[in-house]
Symmetry: C2
Subunit: 651 residues, 2 copies
């Protein structure tokens, strides 16, 4: 089969200088100043009041340099990996010799904890040395290896230092010696996907074909019958007695971790949402590197289903806490939702992977939705508190007293025993430079609008693009284009409904449409300026009538930013509030609120009791007028505990 | 303290001859012909395809008449108890020598399974003979004893046979020797309430003061500090290591089983809803028998909170499946609800107990709501399939694919491993004769409108009342009154809003209002007839604006019967359907539908997609007119799997 699949480039993070004062400059600073140092202290168990991590201690014990036993989750090693990856991205843009020295020390420790045969996993090394690779379904060996491989590739790219890359190359070769299609090897794959995409990064960093071969093997093998995890389970329980499945695997064990069907037969993202989206990213990466059209088609199918039937308006994914999972089409409850921060981060990974195969603005639209709403809602304004679960409706008393909503926290807690989301957010924000552009020959696609100066390499030129913008707070994007003959393709977000203004050197320009991008092809000269104006006025968003939870309701958005009502600004109960279709949405900048927001206000109503406190009555409720005040969703829960809702009744 | 507390009489079931063709005549027949024989076969493990019960076998093993080990729940014994109780009620109205002989045999077996010291519980006798009374929190010894005591009192009343009564008297004395306030006894109480109300029944049957003393002790001791269950737990786990609480007890262990506070300090029904309502019934019974005003006040407080803040419009109770429990005020989700059949049955018990203390129509209104909606919805039209959970909104795909709604079954299954609801419903329906009247001196309160001929004893007369009615299908109730001087007080349901027509011997009568009853006092002569006409027209019901799940929605009711929309009659998705406030509700009898129903129809709307299949869009949805067809809620799910909703959007 002749493939025509593209493989678009992404600029190196080092070549993207994010504006210090811009949207992401500020977020990166929060991560650099708060998350990275805080996490290092936590990994070393030096954070007062935080759950014990024991992560560094586990590595020391595995290296024979400390006494004690393993403590933590089976995937505790990945915490250090994610920290190292975030450090690597941070060093690319903000060199910091002290931080680099700390990272080097940690890497040296990892090397000492590695076993002679290349194996690296502190849980098994300390606790079950004889039982490696006996429970790949539940015990995250490949997952931990994957995260450390991502860190290795990033740290090599950041510093040129090969130590971690070599460590993980040895681990990859060890895995290849144990797992694979050949007779005598385990025909297995990870119970939590991650290593597939990581092996592709390792392949890019090392050029070692073993990496790509392994990644492809994991993708191809997943879900084949007889199912590896069933055989593995039988081996662990030869007597077939009393080995109940975890509750979230009951009914269809394979669905939870996406081994219900071979990947090419899967038509929707199912099960644990982070697993599913790491899988999809790995599939896209392998498709791109191998030119496998059937895998690309699978990715498109999974994506189409996701954005048309399984994604919240905030870019959140995962409709149930039970298994942190996808459930079924149009099942998007707002108040029992999971919508894990990590899942939306994984959705960003998947979208970047798709943008590297085909420049379609829809992928960048989805990336933008997830990034500017659910992902960054994961972190408090001060960068010190984090959400795992990102609900679209919260009633604090329900979180405290109805066990079905126990997972829906009304305020961000400091840190978690399972420390997945904060460091994951750290590595996303510090690597934002990888999400802005994709380059296809001499066509430069601008996927995100980020104030930054970037050096790019097209097929013919080295080009510098300098973007000035307050986006998404303001819709004006000004690009100073460096010399060369190339196409600049600017994404026109779907919320514009095709309405935008584009000018080149001050003159209106009728751009060619390239898959949802406004494309300008010319010989660019120094000083050429492109100005794009996107309409970021507040507008209403309606969910498809099949979304049962949103029937009769409306959400408010401004540009890509989804808004919400909070108790701090509005009368309650919020479900008794309504926003008539005819009410105008007013927008105003309020500099001293939540570090400055564009606030949206409108005339609405709230039901009231008329002094009648009966539970059920035969007379209809009455309403009184109220002023409704909407704030950006990603800034909710920064003013103490209170009600919040994204959707409002429209009647 | 001088008490003025009343103690109203209830006629013996034997003296109530239910109309064969009436509402309850039909239901009783279903129970007699289906449930009672089916359950006996199941208890004996002779039902093909049903889960193994092993209940009779457990008794045989405990009696030393069979080999084997205990099987089933720790409360398996109670299945036989509930069957015997239903049999007793059935024998009172429909003598059946063959059934009575079967019951006698079972009772003899129970006698042989009883231990020499009076102890009766097959789980402990077979499985943990040395560990009686070591885990009263979880292991249901007192609960099982309570159910068998209820059966004993009922069977004695039905047949005059003392054997089971004597067995359970011995057990009660054994309990009294082990548990109580005296030094050297366990200062405990049941982890699942039930024995309190049962001991009061035993007290009535035997006159033995020990029964009432024990019941009062259990009520008074509950929730005191130091908490018995905490001390008991420490005794079981002296090392304090690794004895995690069941998940539903986490945070506030006492709340689940109502030992968070002493009973007189409790202000709302909390935790497991069946436990809570059995407790409330026992508290009311003890209040009545002892004249304890503080306990009565507690019952009133619990009742007020329940009906004003914690009960579904269908009389369902219990807002979360996690712990099958109450959650908090106004938390009444329709689609994740628990609303166990048993909990509404227990609510009927509580209301009858309250009606025996004070004749207030509100208690009978609540009884009627629970009975005619949630309780009888528990059984299929053919009497062969049963619901535990009675949701107000069902989407079958969600039940199958969203684990949060796994407990919400869209069709009634045949029977359950945990066989609590079907036999509980059987004993409620066969004892309906106990719910119709309460008698206070020479005042006869008619609480339910049931076609029946009843012999009653007032303080001065023996009176026969003969009621003819199609209620609740028709609002006309005709009472032929026997001779005597007495007051006939007919409940005027709250849904009438004070509108009704009352006539005596064909002439309009302006009745005195006695706590919501229309009271007629006179010297009645043979042939005197009272006719009450209640308006059972269809009407709308609105939930209090604090009920978040029902905001902007409306329910439809006719008389006490709550209606619902089913997929079999309506376009879907039902959440996209709306019923404008201005639409007229038409009502028509449809004889060949669901064994005959009064169907309600109205003009409504449904949202449609206009060919736009995007998930989120900026244009409002359009609506098209549809005809909405409502059926009585208690007859839902008798036509296969489909959507159902009680609440409909009103805009």
């Amino acid at each position: 089969m002749v493939t025509t699949m593209k493989n678009l480039n992404v600029p190196n993070i080092k070549s993207v200088k994010i504006e210090h004062d811009g949207f992401f400059g500020h977020l990166s600073e929060l991560v650099r100043e708060n998350v990275i140092p805080y996490q290092w202290e936590t990994l070393n168990d030096r954070t007062e009041g935080a759950d014990k991590s024991h992560c560094i201690e586990n590595f020391k014990i595995a290296a024979g340099e400390a006494e004690g036993s393993f403590y933590g989750f089976v995937f505790q090693d990945s915490d250090l990996a994610k920290w190292l990856e975030a450090v690597a991205y941070s060093l690319m843009t903000n060199p910091d010799p002290e931080l680099e020295a700390t990272a080097d020390e940690a890497i040296a420790l990892i090397g000492r904890a590695q076993q002679k045969d290349g194996y690296l996993n502190t849980y098994y090394t300390i606790k079950e040395p004889g039982h490696r690779w006996t429970n790949m379904r539940d015990n995250h060996e490949l997952y931990c290896a994957g995260h450390m491989m991502e860190a290795a590739a990033a740290y090599y790219e950041a510093t040129g230092k090969r130590e971690l890359l070599d460590i993980m190359t040895r681990m990859a070769h060890h895995i290849d010696s144990v797992i694979g299609p050949e007779e005598g090897k385990l025909h297995g794959y990870p119970g939590h996907e991650e290593i597939e995409l990581a092996l592709v990064s390792m392949y890019h960093a090392t050029g070692d074909e073993t990496m790509l071969k392994l990644a492809k093997y994991f993708v191809d093998e997943r879900g084949r019958r007889p199912a590896f995890f069933e055989l593995e389970d039988e081996k662990r329980h030869p007597d077939h007695h009393h080995h109940p499945l975890p509750e979230y695997m009951v009914n269809n064990a394979g669905l939870y971790a996406q081994w219900h069907l071979p990947i090419r037969e899967q038509t929707a993202l199912e099960g644990h949402s982070v697993r599913a989206l790491y899988m999809a990213t790995g599939v896209a990466d392998v498709a791109r590197e191998t030119g496998d059209e059937s895998l690309l088609q699978t990715c498109r199918t999974l994506y189409d289903n996701l954005v048309h039937k399984r994604m919240y308006v905030t870019g959140g994914v995962g409709s149930s806490a039970n298994g942190e999972r996808f459930t079924f089409d149009y099942d998007l409850p707002n108040d029992t939702v999971y919508a894990e921060t990590c899942a939306s981060i994984a959705l960003c990974f998947f979208m970047r992977a798709m943008l590297q195969i085909e420049p379609k603005s829809c992928y960048a639209d989805t990336l933008e939705t997830a990034l500017y709403n659910t992902c960054i809602a994961g972190m408090s304004l001060d960068g010190k508190n984090f959400f795992y679960v990102n609900p679209l409706e919260v009633y604090p008393e329900a979180s405290h007293k109805n066990p079905d909503k126990r997972h829906v926290l009304p305020v961000r807690p400091k840190w978690f025993g399972c420390a997945c989301c904060p460091p994951n957010l750290a590595r996303l924000i510090t690597s934002i430079g990888k999400y802005i552009y994709t380059i296809d020959g001499d066509r430069i696609y601008m996927n995100l609008f980020v104030g930054a100066k970037t050096e790019l390499e097209t097929s013919g030129d080295k080009v510098t693009l300098s973007v000035k913008t307050e986006y998404p707070n303001d819709g004006k994007i000004t690009v100073s284009c460096g010399c060369g003959h190339y196409t600049l393709a600017l994404r026109i977000p779907a919320y514009c409904c095709g309405k935008y203004t584009l000018s080149v050197n001050g003159e209106k320009y009728a751009a060619e449409d390239d898959n949802g991008y406004a494309a300008i092809t010319r010989d660019w000269c120094e000083g050429d300026t492109v100005t794009l104006e996107l309409p970021v006025e507040p507008h209403r968003v309606y969910a498809n009538y099949n979304v049962r939870a949103d029937a009769g309701k409306v959400a408010v958005r401004r540009g890509p930013i989804v808004y919400c009502l909070e108790e701090a600004d509005n009368e309650t109960p919020l479900p008794a509030v309504s926003l008539p279709r005819s009410s105008e949405l007013h927008c105003e900048y309020v500099p001293d609120k939540l570090e400055g927001i564009y606030e949206i206000t409108a005339d609405g109503y709230i039901e009231c009791d008329d002094g009648d406190d009966t539970l059920y009555r035969m007379t209809p409720p009455t309403k009184k007028p109220v002023k409704l005040t909407f704030i950006p969703y990603y800034k909710w829960a920064n003013r103490g505990e209170g009600e919040m809702t994204v959707y409002v009744a429209e009647n």
